[in-house]
């Protein structure tokens, strides 16, 4: 499984802070995003950043390993 986390305004729009996406060999980051964007379009309107295993991910064609942690994030507003 791939663990997908949401925080702050994205979590509010998704209505959950975590969902699981089934893993299959070769699954790409963009496929996980597309799948979740289809079910939660309002949340993805504000998604600006993506992280995989705690690091910023700029390449959406990144293949994911099983048990990866993916986070779709809106602009930060700390401080």
């Amino acid at each position: 499984m791939i663990k997908v986390l949401f925080f702050g305004p994205v979590a509010e729009r998704v209505g959950a802070s975590e969902v699981q996406v089934p893993f299959r060999t070769g699954i790409l980051l963009q496929e996980v995003r597309a799948q979740l964007q289809e079910s939660h379009p309002a949340a993805f309107e504000i998604v600006c950043f993506t992280a995989v295993n705690g690091e910023h991910a700029l390449d959406m064609s990144l293949p994911l390993a099983d048990h990866s942690e993916v986070v779709f994030m809106s602009k930060f507003s700390g401080g």
Binding site: F7, P9, A51, M73, S74, F76, G78
Partner: protein, 141 residues
């Protein structure tokens, strides 16, 4: 001694943080600090509390990177960064940055740089709680 970079629910003591910074070196000629507080107003509404959510592991890692980068970039002797999460009341402290250097200019520049970079790079989100309802804050420059 507490870690130089922390994310915590409880309030912090500026005196303790500056004291900890000063123990690192007697060559410190200048210490600059920034304290971010919870304003009690926003866009014409009275804000009673601010709620913070964070991607904790990544936020802490990014804050640690910021400290290391600032020490190298501004030739600091030391730096500390503390950010609160959870619910913070209006008027309370949110974030504290302290930068110590041999001279005042790099300490002041580093402090300014650190809070600007923190806002851009650290995955923390704030929601203002008002009598009219709660609203996630949209970042602005």
């Amino acid at each position: 001694m507490k870690d130089a970079v922390r994310i915590q629910r409880e309030d912090f003591s500026q005196d303790e943080e500056v004291g900890a910074l000063r123990t690192g070196s007697k060559r410190m000629g200048g210490i600059a600090t920034f304290t971010g507080c919870a304003r009690d107003f926003s866009e014409g509404r009275e804000v009673t509390q601010i709620s913070f959510d964070a991607y904790g592991n990544m936020a802490l890692a990014e804050m640690r990177k910021l400290r290391v980068e600032a020490i190298a970039k501004f030739e600091l002797l030391d730096a500390r960064i503390v950010h609160r999460v959870g619910v913070v009341g209006a008027g309370e402290q949110i974030v504290f940055i302290a930068a110590g250097a041999a001279h005042r200019a790099p300490a002041l520049q580093a402090c300014h740089w650190l809070i600007d970079e923190l806002k851009q790079r650290v995955p923390i989100w704030k929601k203002e709680i008002t009598a009219q309802g709660d609203e996630w804050v949209t970042p602005h420059p």
